[in-house]
Symmetry: C2
């Protein structure tokens, strides 16, 4: 389904060439920054800066108008005053441009009739010229494979399997940054702002068809074509996991959405009911959205409700066991008893006093017998046939004084190696504290090894429940 | 009320001298580490290492038994096998020790009758000898003023106004670490484990009477004297804000609590009803507990429901405004319109296109007019008489590319200065992303200036609602 979108959107996500309208020799101007960002990111095709000031930016000649660009132009990024956008669309039509992305703002989101009218004229001109519009009032395309950065910043993360759409440029930018930080690797993304031509439905259909995308995240504020969006969400959710964060759920939030992207928001209850019926996964914050995308990316097609919790790698496993159990149980996970075989192994490895041979498992006694015993204890829990997934709570504040930096590295190496040898998912909870540089370092290593890492047991448990529910309802996938 | 506790507990929280039983020349032994931790932390009184091996640890002579310590001993830290604890209590009585803290574990939490019996004998001996017991199976006292570290780690944070009690040693340790990281400064804390003599009620009464403590946090797993604890919670909550996190709310969590501190947990619903009726503030996670303690510490006696949100200090304020509004409104805060006067000022400072002169306020347009305009815009919102508290969302990922490191420092300086000049609370949301070192640096500076900092708008809003509700119900404070 939606295979036709792949061909249609090829010049949008994989343009052969890009023109940036609104560039100048002043490097602080947004258009200039976009040119520099495309160069830094390594966009492989020709880049044509267009602007009224003669000269050169980052070694590229600035052309006075789009028609004068020496080669074909697939995709145009526009950062000029709104007064000039209609004229620019004429130039785009003459140049046979495929798609125009307007960063320019000041349209329907101002609430003034002129803004609305201007948008209508833009769409009319685009239709006549065979051009598709992205925006206005947005950051446009992000495609790390084609080295197109998210906005006028040179940051491009690794290519991956997570697609996103965002009505908001700020949220798109933040998704990209969190992606880089947490190794959520995007296939492609788009911020489409007011969405006067191409909108959420179009991009969702494209990502549904895109073979490189296995899970889709969306931040939406409202829809001009509500019924069409609903139908699309239903169709897309039938193909791939679709995670939607609806902004503007409250009265004030909805007012802000109106003046942000000109979105008329419906009530939160209507949206929730709609998303549920359509089979999409609803989330309520940036953290929940990124947590969910991370777990889908790292675990792939996986389900299971029976988890084991391991705490106290060095010490202090008791309170962690209690609170982690609460967090998992309250989220709806199950903590079954370990098999007799596993308990016998653990009893040999840990002894009994003070350690808890139940699930959750406090392995702090292992330290007395050396880290090999600790590793064997963890591995025996991972191997337990009653257990679908193992949650390990590590705490740098507690690990570091007991193991030294090298000892912690060894635990890390062991976990990374375990992940390679075992098919069973291991999810790590690494709470913040007073050893942040060491914690961040450890987090990076585990994430690079495709292990999901969360800062709290609550967030980890919620993400696990979400992916489990999803694949429970879609056993065929 | 409870003033008698101050005198009684003086030798516990402010001991003149400490003996550590279980020290040796082997520096890796827990007792030895405790001796070193007390020295590193700077405990100002005599420290007497007691152990069977002759020799010296960190320059201190090891005495073969407690009776041989050359001076008076107020407080004893015990890390020896449980087989020797009764004999040790005889030594303590002979030495006229005031309080003994048992790190030693392996008692009622094992679930075995021997453990239970041993505890009963310990209490009997302590009563006869006029000694109070802390523990067993815990980390004992934390008092930064008296330079007593939390457990055998040399970390001692700054002295402050937050008291805590924790049934779990691991949670006590983590509370201390988070305190250091987030500038939650404790007056004193205690981990009391199995609580066979002094228990939650005793320490709550002490903290209620302690003039240095203005807010109390508690992590509890269960109570041996349930009715007494309930009465105490009610009495203490009448004196000071009392924030309680109950661990073992779920079936598996309760089982873990049983084998952790030997606690018989009641159902979560019973606890919630009890805490509510007693006027305590119930929280459900370590994050919520520390967030709540932080806001009480930073805002002091404060209430107000009308908040303003400022976003987009550099850019990307639109999506933030929408999602921040949702987070605040869903938590129960109000976002009233700004006064006409403030809106006129903002219109002069920001212009209209693209910026949102409502509440939430997207100030990203200020950047075009220089950072002075940004600062004036923020200050005019803080001065608005309709607004009780201002929430500022800063994002290092977005700030850094626009302002450079120096520009961000200037924003920081402005906020710290604003806090000094204005009485109105300013709460900062600093979400994590891909510029963690810079973010942590900024967070530290703001926290040092007594500005509460949170990683998400949801957490900030929840904490604000909690303190507001509290002082709304206690207008007399």
């Amino acid at each position: 389904m939606f295979e036709e979108k792949l061909k249609e959107f090829e010049p949008i996500f994989y343009p052969k060439s890009i023109a940036v309208v609104g560039a100048s020799t002043n490097e602080m101007k947004t258009g200039s920054r976009w040119v520099k960002a495309l160069i830094s990111a390594g966009f492989p095709g020709p880049i044509y800066p267009i602007g009224s000031s003669e000269g050169v930016i980052s070694g590229l000649k600035i052309f006075p108008n789009l028609r004068g660009a020496p080669g074909e132009v697939d995709y145009v990024i526009v950062s000029i005053p709104r007064q000039s956008v209609l004229e620019l669309l004429d130039d785009c039509a003459a140049k046979k441009v495929k798609a125009v992305h307007f960063f320019t703002a000041g349209f329907s989101e101002t609430g003034k009739p002129e803004g609305q009218e201007l948008e209508e004229q833009m769409v009319k001109k685009a239709r006549q010229g065979g051009i598709r519009i992205i925006g206005p009032n947005c950051l446009g395309i992000y495609c790390s494979e084609r080295k197109i950065p998210c906005g006028p910043l040179p940051k491009v993360g690794a290519s991956g399997s997570v697609g996103f759409i965002s009505q908001s440029g700020g949220i798109a930018e933040k998704l990209t940054e969190i992606g880089i930080a947490r190794h959520i690797n995007y296939s492609k993304g788009v911020s489409f702002g007011n969405g006067i031509d191409l909108d959420a439905s179009d991009f969702l259909q494209y990502l549904a068809a895109d073979p490189k995308t296995i899970v889709i995240g969306a931040y939406l504020e409202g829809a001009r074509r509500g019924h069409h969006l609903f139908d699309t969400v239903r169709e897309v959710a039938e193909i791939k996991p679709l995670v939607i964060w609806k902004g503007g759920r409250t009265e004030v939030g909805a007012q802000a959405a109106m003046s942000h992207t000109g979105s008329l928001a419906s009530s939160a209850a209507v949206w929730s009911a709609m998303l549920k019926q359509a089979g999409a996964i609803e989330v309520h914050s940036l953290e929940e959205l990124t947590d969910t995308l991370l777990i889908f990316q790292q675990l792939g097609c996986w389900k299971g409700n029976n988890v084991a919790i391991i705490g106290g790698l060095a010490n202090g496993g008791g309170g962690i066991s209690v609170s982690a159990s609460d967090a998992c149980m309250e989220s709806g996970l199950k903590l079954p008893p370990l098999s007799t075989k596993t308990r016998e192994k653990l009893s040999d490895l840990l002894g009994e006093v003070g350690s808890i041979l139940r699930n959750p498992i406090d392995v702090s006694q292992a330290r007395r017998h050396g880290s090999d015993n600790l590793f064997k204890a963890i591995e025996s829990v991972v191997e337990d046939s009653f257990i679908d997934l193992v949650l390990i709570q590590e705490d740098m504040d507690i690990l570091l004084p007991h193991f030294s930096r090298e000892g912690v590295e060894r635990i890390n190496d062991f976990l990374v190696d375990l992940r390679r040898r075992q098919n069973k998912p291991v999810v790590v909870v690494l709470p913040p504290g007073s050893a942040e540089p060491e914690r961040l370092d450890m987090e990076q290593r585990l994430l690079r090894a495709s292990m999901p890492v969360f800062t709290t047991m609550e967030r980890a448990a919620k993400a696990i429940v979400t992916i489990n529910k999803y694949f429970d309802c879609h056993p065929e996938r």
